[in-house]
Chain length 258, copies 2
DNA sequence: CCTCCATTGAGTACGTTGTACGCGATCTCC
DNA sequence: GGAGATCGCGTACAACGTACTCAATGGAGG
């Protein structure tokens, strides 16, 4: 009835007209859920567990949140608000996008369960909306809105793709209960068999030769990010300010000399 | 005990030495699971449901697969095998990568549940391995392996990011049980309030002005893909063949006529 | 002031999930 | 021809999300 009226969790008012004072709040529940999900994974953030965390009865949560799915939407929007995009656009689009990208990555690493959340697309929560405003505001002066959408998608695609991989390998370890070295030791026979079989030369090349996988995650991320920013630069008019990538100081783009 | 020995589903042999003839097979179970997940979502592909689909008892599946998570890994690898990468590298890297990207997208759209699967990173199944061989083989002759990894990550990031958005909006409709027009009608008051509030000028601009969201999904994907391929082109040596389409001097590569 | 009743926190209960365990039947190896 | 591993499968259990129900609560209308 009234439940189905709201297509969005944000369309549903939190506080009713009158009645007894609520003992808890959406914010409190959301924060508790995030705390649990951060520490033990999203699947551990069950309704009972969250309720216990704040000292409530299991069913009390449903006075504040219509369903677990909606609570997860609240969690997702909440953590999006952690990304610092104040003062954007600052005038230096490259610095702005870098700060955004690193903030996004840091947030994902703090809250790895984000990777498993279906952002049911247009569920625009307040934090997500603000993020869009600031992020797309960076390029808004330089390109038409459609171009902006494309460039932002490119940037987000890279950030999310990279971090997702980072997270999922960490998650795989956590789930299996093995440490990374132990896991690698266990995997060695399989990988070794694949390499020695000769059927997968490029896989073997990755295992044997690639240095990228041995760099720190930060460096891997940085390298990819610079590439994406260079790509964005080519789509902007020269009035956009940041110089062309070719003669940037400390340029480390595609094809280092060594 | 012997269960924990295997870190990988692919390290565990399917057929044991002796005993009665198995009535089913991993492949059969995997296919049934995929069929159900395609039609009703991954959460409907429960062990009981899958067993019923092939006419088996619920617990029989555990003779073939150690856990549901491992079954999902099998499913994921299976559908990766659907992407047609035969004949790569063909010599035209741009055509190869386009075919790969569109194949990847088509596969994701056929099996939307893929978006929710944590690819526990190095669980290299046979199809995934073959895919890596063919895909990375496309650029292997032109760039060092580390550069290749970066470029492929860029491409995959775009494909996955775009399709993920495509899927999650479709999923949101499916879950809510509403049709797209009905959903939009329900959302209208919320969106309208946001736009009229004046607090979100760029969001408003997207809603009011952007044409990209009204293009077909194929066109949106194509546009973004071209951008990524252009970006990759700048990282390749000129011997790679495919010329830059638009704003570069058209040095027609030897032999490539497109 | 009192009364009304929507809303509160919370207990109980139901249906569904993944899967541990154990059974008799079946097949390969020695 | 045993011996014993492996088969399909029924039963059982713990944990999940959440529908339903209840007495207690406290602002609104008189």
């Amino acid at each position: 009835m009234t439940d189905a009226e709201y297509v969005n969790i944000w369309m549903r008012p939190e506080r009713p007209a009158y009645g007894p004072k609520p003992a808890y709040s959406r914010a409190q529940i959301t924060e508790a859920a995030i705390r649990i999900a951060d520490a033990e994974g999203l699947e551990s953030a069950t309704m009972r567990r969250i309720a216990a965390e704040i000292g409530a009865g299991a069913m009390s949560l449903y006075r504040y949140v219509p369903s677990r799915d909606n609570l997860i939407e609240l969690m997702a929007d909440q953590v999006m608000g952690e990304i610092d995009v104040t003062g954007m656009p600052s005038g230096d689009w490259r610095a702005d996008l870098t700060r955004y990208a690193e903030g996004q990555r840091a947030m994902w690493l703090r809250h790895p369960w984000i990777a498993t959340v279906q952002r049911s697309l247009p569920s625009f929560g307040p934090s997500q909306l603000l993020l869009v405003e600031r992020l797309m505001g960076v390029l808004d002066a330089f390109v038409p809105i459609d171009e902006n959408l494309g460039l932002v998608a490119l940037l987000n695609g890279h950030v999310e793709g990279t971090v997702r991989e980072e997270i999922s390998s960490a998650e795989a370890f956590r789930r299996s209960g093995l440490s990374e070295p132990e896991w690698m030791a266990r995997s060695y026979p399989y990988v070794d068999r694949l390499v020695k079989s000769g059927e997968y030369p490029i896989f073997a090349k990755i295992v044997m030769e690639a240095r990228q996988p041995h760099l720190s995650r930060e460096e891997q991320f940085r390298n990819g990010l610079e590439r994406v920013l260079d790509c964005i630069a080519t789509a902007l008019p020269s009035t956009a300010g940041s110089p062309m990538p070719a003669h940037r100081e400390g340029q480390d783009g595609p094809g280092t000399g060594s």
